[in-house]
């Protein structure tokens, strides 16, 4: 598995997943990877190896909940949706992310 420059920064995966789910509603894991890849115009790619452990951890932390459902292709899949706690977490992570990017860009601009 080639490690490209578009590997997702450690710690931002949760932010991306939460954001995706909060915007698009319940999704299965595969759809989440496709969605992130598509929305980021192929700049970001989620590795399966990170995604599922992250999903399960977030579920344990109570940010997500999951149910088994059937896809349009009639396959059984696990659908994840964001919880109220997840939304609060999302707000927090967005906040800290924007502070980080602002900080970094200020440094890039003025330093």
């Amino acid at each position: 598995m080639a490690r490209g420059r578009n590997d997702i920064l450690q710690g931002t995966l949760a932010l991306l997943v939460l954001r995706t789910l909060s915007v698009s509603g319940p999704m299965h894991g595969y759809a989440i990877t496709s969605q992130i890849q598509m929305v980021s115009a192929d700049l970001l790619r989620v590795e399966e190896g990170s995604l599922y452990p992250a999903l399960h951890r977030m579920e344990q932390d109570g940010w997500l909940k999951s149910t088994w459902g059937v896809t349009e292709k009639n396959r059984e899949a696990r659908f994840y949706s964001i919880t109220a706690k997840g939304r609060r977490q999302l707000a927090e992570e967005e906040e800290s992310w924007s502070r980080l990017t602002e900080g970094v860009s200020r440094v890039l601009r003025y330093a």
Binding site: M1, G29, Y30, S34, E48, G49, Y52, P53, Q60
Partner: protein, 909 residues
């Protein structure tokens, strides 16, 4: 995650696995679809999808690891990890486990004995119903020391008094009297003595003992004029008869008299005396069989029976006391000793009865060793504390050494609790291993200790049930848990308190080290030094006591003297023939090769018996009865020469001292000074009061130096020796003192043969006088040996701790030391620097320890002899010993510090 979720996860673990598999299968299927849409062959698409996903199995594990129990499932893993990491540092592991093992083992050993001797109830049904009688209201000796049950003179009764109590009492549902004795199994030659007990008919009923074979005594067995019958203890039955049922009905000879075996007591019954068990039980009435006319069944001042009863239902100890007090007056009035003086008779009838619980039985061991065991228990508790401090220090150092590892693991996201748990697991593994080692130590330790405290005399072997019991097990586990919590949790908590940031900083070592953990380590070592000083000082006192007593000049030279007690009772010789048979025995033995000198005497010094009498001297008015008391012995000519007791004035007994001539006596220096001050007593006279009328006068013909009489501890008592040669009717038992060349036991066979030739039915007991002296110092020896052992262990542990902390400090200050040396510090100065640090730690420890030791010393004061608990020499030597050993422990790291190569040390940065 909440713990119940984890448990649920384990239960659901299969379902979760299935869920994860399904989810992954779905993901791959979707990926394959996409890849095929982009034009890949199905086969290739599968391959790529899998590849992209990574190894499926690994992935599943990863995902699941989050879900299921880092907690329960990985405990085994943690334990494995702990064992592996301990195997990687064997020195640490061995020192830790040995420290814990010693600490726990020593505690369990002493506690096993404490439990068996002090805490456990008597192993009989409903022991709480048992109570014993006494005629004294208090349990204190005149010295204010509490006495154990059945060990005070007031716990013994005469047979006539017992018969009154038995027939009058209404407090007990069953009551029994019993008196210890010993019987000789041999029919002649060297005696083979076994412990036995005279028991009243209700003895076995009172203890609710069942027979293992045959039948047990009833009241019908204990009537005047009874024939000899005997009940065997289970262990005696096993040993002598191989536990064969046909032993019942057979006849054994006890001290030459035939006794028919009626039955065997149940295996669990070890008698009322904890620690010493009788081999045979015979009825009280059978004393007439054994002793003939000299029996004490009607003797009104022979106090030899203890009385123990089972409280009647609804009667408690207090009520029983009241009921017995009510029958006291008539019981005493019926049994007044006729030959007593009037004032003593009056005092006698006003005595009362008192009742106390006997649920834990009687115990000579308890009264001899009870307080010693408690003192030892305190000692081993200190050892455990020191061991814990050591282990804590080792664990701290180890945690410190893993500081970076832990910091890194914390930084990359390991949970703090996860790390704590792992460190704690390591402690638990250590503590459990230590507990196992400790139990092994205890197993052998208790047996060794019991062998060490074997009682001198007939009932030599200590019979204690030392099987592991639940109380003991609980105690060990408690100690182990305590150790884990104390030693494991704290370092673990400290170790994980590091912030990743601090750890990263620590990477870039500064020149000067932070001292936080270090101060704690030092504090622990200070505590260790202080605690070990307490033990070393106590050991100093107890060893000093033993040395003082064994170096004490007893007034005779015990080395090289063999005591041979010759008993003529079995020869059935007429009383008038005894003197000549003794003479014959004595003449045969005296001429044997290897025997330098020989004498005979009635009593032996520091033996089990003593003889005192009130004396009357013209012009001396005793203030109390005790004031006129003199200790007596009857000795032959040559006794003082054989014992090497100096004759200060006058002469020894000689051939002129015959029965018809005027009675003569030799007194010791103390006697002379007491009754005649500085004037010479030679030529003066005294009489004995206890005969009616007074005896004819004894004329003092000599004065000898003071010699120990009853024990080495007692200050020398006024003693008078009378001439054996003037006794026309000597008793059938006498003791020969034989001074031999070299080891006195080598002459035993020759002496045995020579006496056997004089008469084959003579019974002989041999004992070197030196052993008799050593036996009398047994408790002192046990305390000296054990306290010395404890002191050494404590010292070793403390030094190990000191060495560890100093080495560690040197290792951490390598840079600093390197800079100092580079800047021109002389190496001697570096050594001084390190040793100075050691000195401070030791000095503080010694000061704290000396204060604690002074307090501890007052606790051991009752055991001391010839030394005071405030003796500054003992403290000074203990401190000096500690200082020297600490210096040695400090020198090694100091020397290493001085050898630090500045270039190397600085380059490391």
């Amino acid at each position: 995650m909440a713990w119940h979720h984890r448990i649920l996860n384990i239960v659901r673990s299969n379902r979760i696995s299935r869920d994860i598999e399904r989810e992954m299968a779905f993901h791959i299927a979707e990926r394959v679809d996409d890849l095929r849409q982009s034009g890949m062959s199905e086969q290739q698409a599968h391959r790529v999808a899998r590849l992209q996903f990574g190894n499926e199995a690994t992935q599943r594990e990863h995902t699941r690891g989050v879900d299921v129990a880092e907690w329960v499932q990985s405990v085994a893993g943690d334990a494995r990890y702990a064992v592996r990491s301990l195997l990687h540092s064997p020195v640490f592991a061995i020192v830790t486990i040995a420290s814990l093992g010693l600490g726990i083992g020593a505690n369990t050993t002493i506690f096993t004995l404490l439990d068996a001797v002090m805490l456990r109830q008597l192993a009989v049904p409903r022991p709480e119903q048992l109570a014993y009688m006494s005629f004294s209201a208090t349990r204190e000796t005149p010295q204010g020391r509490a006495q154990g049950a059945g060990s005070s003179a007031a716990d013994f009764f005469t047979n006539p008094l017992w018969e009154q109590i038995r027939d009058r009492q209404n407090a007990f549902s069953a009551v029994t009297a019993f008196g210890e004795t010993d019987f000789n199994l041999a029919d002649g030659g060297e005696a083979r003595r076994i412990p036995g007990t005279y028991v009243s008919g209700d003895f076995f009923t009172t203890f609710a003992v069942t027979p293992a074979a045959g039948r047990l005594f009833t009241r019908a067995d204990d009537v005047r004029g009874c024939a000899g019958s005997v009940i065997l203890s289970y262990r005696f039955w096993q040993r002598e008869f191989g536990a064969r049922a046909d032993a019942v009905g057979r006849v054994i000879r006890l001290t030459g008299h035939p006794f028919e075996i009626s039955g065997v007591a149940a295996e669990w019954f070890r008698g009322p005396d904890v620690g010493s068990e009788s081999n045979v039980y015979v009825p009280i009435c059978a004393q007439a069989v054994i002793r003939g006319p000299q029996h004490s069944l009607d003797h009104r001042s022979n106090w030899w029976l203890r009385i123990l009863g089972r409280l009647a239902p609804d009667v408690d100890v207090r009520q029983a006391g009241a009921r017995l007090a009510a029958i006291a007056r008539p019981s005493y009035e019926e049994t007044v000793p006729q030959h007593w003086r009037d004032e003593d008779k009056q005092q006698y009838v006003t005595r009362s009865f008192f009742v106390r619980s006997a649920e834990r039985g009687f115990s000579e061991i308890r009264s001899r060793y009870g307080s010693a065991l408690l003192a030892l228990m305190a000692g081993v508790a200190l050892i455990l504390l020191i061991a814990c401090a050591n282990v804590a220090n080792l664990l701290l150092s180890r945690a410190e050494a893993r500081h970076r590892e832990l910091a890194i693991r914390l930084a990359i996201g390991a949970g703090r609790r996860r790390l704590l748990r792992q460190l704690l697991t390591e402690s638990v593994v250590l503590a459990l291993t230590g507990a196992v080692v400790g139990l092994a130590v205890a197993h052998f330790g208790t047996r060794a200790l019991v062998a060490l405290i074997a009682m001198p005399g007939v009932s030599g072997a200590v019979s204690l049930d030392l099987a592991l019991n639940l109380r003991l097990l609980a105690f060990t586990i408690l100690v182990a848990t305590f150790t884990v919590v104390l030693c494991g949790l704290f370092p673990a908590w400290r170790a994980t308190r590091v912030s990743a940031q601090a750890a990263m900083k620590a990477q870039a070592r500064g020149v000067i080290e932070g001292h936080t953990r270090f101060r704690l380590g030092k504090a622990l070592v200070v505590a260790q030094v202080a605690l070990s000083l307490v033990l070393v000082v106590s050991a100093g006192f107890l060893i000093g006591t033993f040395r003082n007593l064994s170096r004490l000049n007893p007034g005779f030279a015990a080395e090289g003297v063999l005591l041979a007690t010759v008993d003529l009772r079995r020869t059935n010789i007429a009383p008038e023939g005894i003197a000549s048979l003794h003479r014959q025995v004595f003449d045969r033995v005296r001429g044997l090769p290897g025997i330098i000198s020989a004498s005979s005497s009635d009593l032996t010094p520091v033996g089990n018996s003593s003889w005192n009498d009130e004396i009357v001297i013209d012009g001396f008015t005793p203030r109390t009865m005790e004031d006129a008391l003199t200790w007596f012995n009857e000795v032959s000519e040559g006794y003082f020469a054989t014992m090497k007791t100096r004759i200060i004035a006058g002469r020894d007994f000689d051939a002129t001292d015959v029965p018809g001539a005027g009675k003569v006596a030799i007194v010791n220096d103390a006697w002379g000074r007491k009754f005649f001050g500085n004037g010479s007593p030679v030529g003066r006279q005294f009489r004995l009061r206890d005969r009616q009328p007074l005896t004819p006068p004894y004329t003092i013909v000599g004065v000898v130096e003071n010699a120990a009489y009853r024990s080495l501890r007692e200050s020398v008592e006024p003693t008078a020796y009378v001439a054996q040669s003037q006794n026309a009717t000597p008793g059938p038992v006498t003791t020969l003192e034989l001074r031999a060349q070299g080891d006195p036991t080598t002459v035993i066979p020759a002496v045995r043969t020579a006496i056997g030739e004089a008469h084959s039915a003579i019974t002989i007991d041999f004992k070197p006088l030196a052993r008799q002296l050593a036996d009398s110092l047994q408790r002192e020896r046990v305390l000296a040996v054990l306290s010395g052992l404890f002191g050494s262990v404590a010292l070793a542990l403390a030094i190990l701790g000191l060495y560890g902390v100093t080495s560690y400090s040197v290792a951490r200050r390598r840079n600093e030391l390197g800079v100092r040396i580079a800047l021109g510090a002389v190496r001697a100065r570096v050594v001084r620097l390190v040793l100075g640090e050691v000195g401070v730690v030791v000095a503080i420890g010694v000061i704290v320890g000396a204060v604690a030791a002074r307090i501890a010393a007052t606790q051991v004061a009752p055991f001391l002899y010839g030394t005071q608990p405030s003796d500054p020499m003992v403290y000074a030597s203990a401190a000096a010993l500690l200082g020297i050993v600490a210096l040695i422990a400090g020198l090694i790291p100091a020397w290493r510090a001085a050898r630090v190569d500045p270039i190397e040390a600085l380059r490391e940065q």
